[in-house]
């Protein structure tokens, strides 16, 4: 799809504004942080008078209904993260009704979406896989823990990783399971893989907190030799640091799409409303953590679920994830 500059005049509108976040669900910490980022960003704009957040509790039909409700409610801007195809008609209806739509994270797949805020999901998978391949020098058994089955981001990360692994004939993927991006399921799966494959060399975990679950499994099995890569959560980083600092040779790597994408999306939307110049497609920067940056990234004072790439100010981090 071609990138272009969005017609600034078309969406210009006088404030104060009502802005909406149309969300599929708040099922995990990343999404919670994402909603908070959105609200925090909104609070920085004096001309926003109301913020509406809808939540479809994972029901696609409900999210379509939510979109229709937002149209009836005549909000001034909709920021959406949704199943990319199912919401196409609803989003187009909104745009046709004169409401600009900015989509991010799981981006709605219609050319009519006013601004697309794309984080390259495939690249997440590629980078994680590349780290493993490089460290293993192209040889060894790898187990894959992927995110939520049937979702586009999950699929794109998985395919990105496979693309890299295919380049190394010496790398053998011994199994892949969808973990629902849940700690407990990821940890159980990792345990089962470690048990079944005594010569396992690495665990690839691209779904939310599943990397933490995987690293707990290697830690408890006393197997620092198994590489664990993931999208990273504070628990992962804390354990990595603790284990490394105790003298073990731990190799790990993490890459995240920051939950602040929602804030960026809102900011871009506000530009539209104010008649400023905005690109149709904005690429989002990914965030990484390596052995070198680990000391700065890990936050033992915050909860395991803390999303380290968040832009939120310190006091909000403490309020949301603080251990006190």
């Amino acid at each position: 799809e071609d990138n272009y500059v969005v017609d600034a005049k078309k969406w210009k509108k006088k404030g104060p504004y009502t802005v909406a976040l149309c969300n599929i669900s708040v099922v995990n910490s990343w999404r919670v942080a994402m909603v908070e980022e959105f609200k925090y960003e909104a609070s920085k704009h004096k001309d926003i008078k109301q913020v509406v957040v809808t939540d479809a509790a994972n029901n696609v039909a409900k999210q379509i209904a939510d979109m229709e409700d937002l149209i009836t409610k005549k909000v001034d801007l909709i920021v959406i993260t949704a199943p990319p195809t199912a919401l196409v008609p609803a989003v187009e209806k909104a745009v046709d009704a004169g409401i600009p739509v900015v989509s991010f994270d799981s981006v709605v797949d219609s050319p009519k979406v006013t601004v697309k805020n794309i984080a390259d999901q495939s690249e997440i998978g590629e980078q994680l896989a590349q780290y493993i391949a490089t460290q293993l020098k192209g040889k060894g058994k790898v187990a894959m823990l992927t995110g939520i089955a049937g979702t586009t981001p999950g699929q794109m990360r998985y395919e990105g990783a496979l693309k890299v692994f295919k380049k190394y004939p010496g790398i053998k993927v011994v199994g892949q399971v969808w973990t629902n991006s849940a700690y407990d399921q990821a940890k159980r799966a990792a345990e089962n893989f470690i048990s079944a494959n005594p010569d396992l060399k690495a665990i690839y975990a691209d779904g939310g907190p599943s990397g933490y679950g995987a690293m707990q499994a290697t830690y408890e099995a006393k197997r620092p030799d198994i590489i664990v890569v993931g999208t990273g959560s504070n628990g992962h980083f804390n354990l990595w640091k603790k284990w490394r600092d105790s003298g073990a040779k731990v190799r790990s790597f993490a890459i995240q799409d920051p939950p602040g994408d929602s804030a960026v999306a809102l900011a871009l939307g506000m530009k539209l409303l104010r008649g400023q110049k905005v690109q149709h497609i904005e690429k989002m920067k990914l965030w990484t953590c390596t052995d070198k940056t680990l000391d700065k990234v890990a936050r033992p004072d915050l909860g395991d679920d803390y999303i380290n790439s968040t832009f939120l100010p310190e006091e909000m981090k403490v309020k949301l994830w603080g251990k006190k």
Binding site: N23, V26, V35, Q50, V51, V52, V53, T54, D55, A57, N58, N59, V60, A61, K62, I64, A65, D66, E68, D69, L70, I71, T72, K73, K74, P83, P84, T85, A86, L87, V88, P89, D109, A149, G150, T151, T152, G154, Q155
Partner: protein, 332 residues
């Protein structure tokens, strides 16, 4: 306890109001009216003219799935495979349909028959494997969702529903859209089938007391399999509508409908294992699911509290019917 001396005449008043009041779907309508009144008085955008037509369209998928579930609950079972069937139809539709009228009509029929066949198979397994329907259909649902994922591992934008099909699903006569009319027609037919035909009477009799129905010479196996077949058919109809509304497939689209369909039916006054239920009540139950989300959106209620209210209102909706029944039993 009964106290009806045999010498005295006992007749039941069959006037309209009494019947309406005794309809198991009554409490849901009272709750709907209260909910409506609250929404109407509190939110300006809720009052806007576009809202009601919206609400009606949004109800369609839940209503059809709820009606599907009503048949089997009335027959003394339950079918948690409804969500799986919807997912399979939603994922299958874009593969099968092309943008010619013949293809769209033909393939719609094929998809409906697939739904019906899955339903029939479910019914058959339930008869063969004498396990509680709740659990057996749960396992079946798992298999069906797996199959949907096989058809479409992720939302695939290259697989789209023909535009004319979408036009039909999203089209309308003025404020009344075609699917809403279709749903009402399905509901009326369902009412007729369930309450005016021998099949419907037999179906409800089985739900009320299988042994008695069997002894009365009713072919329990046949009726149950047919009930599940209709359930599969209506679930597929709900899936077709969803597919048209989304314009594409999505393997996660149906998952929540297994419970949602049951919520619609039960909130609408259909009771487990009694053969007692109400088609109109199911429509009301589906409407309640939708109107709650709608009001929350219009009021801008925090998502966290939305869950709390949604749960509470579900309980209150069913409590209404339960309390009414308790009170009637006591008055006797």
């Amino acid at each position: 306890m009964e106290k009806v001396p045999i010498t005295k005449e006992t007749t039941v008043q069959t006037n309209f109001f009494r019947r309406a009041l005794n309809n198991p779907g009554m409490p849901i309508y009272i709750i709907l009216m209260i909910t409506w009144a609250i929404g109407y008085s509190v939110s300006e955008s809720f009052r806007s003219p576009g809202n009601l037509p919206n609400l009606m369209v949004q109800t369609v998928a839940f209503a059809l799935a709820g009606l599907a579930q009503t048949y089997v609950i009335l027959a003394g079972d339950v079918n948690l495979g409804v969500g799986g069937i919807i997912s399979i139809i939603v994922c299958g539709a874009p593969f099968l349909m092309t943008n010619t009228p013949a293809s769209m009509i033909g393939m719609s029929l094929v998809l409906l028959l697939i739904g019906a066949a899955i339903g029939a198979l479910t019914g058959y397994l339930l008869i063969k494997i004498k396990v509680e329907a709740m659990v057996l259909t749960l396992a079946i649902n798992f298999t069906l969702l797996g199959f949907a994922l096989y058809l479409m591992p992720f939302p695939d934008y290259t697989k789209i529903i023909p535009i004319d099909f979408i036009r039909v699903i999203t089209g309308s006569w003025g404020p009344i859209s075609y699917p809403v009319v279709g749903t009402v027609v399905v509901a009326i037919i369902s009412w007729y089938v369930l309450y005016r035909t021998r099949f419907g009477l037999h179906l409800r009799a089985i739900g009320a007391d299988k042994e008695t129905a069997f002894r009365a010479g009713i072919n329990v196996t046949k009726v149950k399999i047919w009930a599940h077949t209709i359930t599969g058919f209506l679930a597929a109809l709900s899936g077709l509508f969803l597919a048209g509304r989304m314009g594409t497939g999505d393997p996660t689209a149906g998952a929540t409908f297994s419970l949602d369909s049951m919520t619609a039916a039960v909130a609408g006054g259909t009771l487990f294992n009694t053969g007692v239920g109400s088609v109109a009540g199911t429509l009301g139950g589906a409407f309640l699911i939708v109107i709650l989300g709608n009001i929350f959106n219009h009021l801008g209620v925090s998502t966290f509290y939305q869950y709390v209210f949604r749960g509470a209102l579900l309980v209150v909706a069913v409590a209404g019917g339960a309390i009414k029944k308790k009170w009637q039993d006591k008055a006797k």
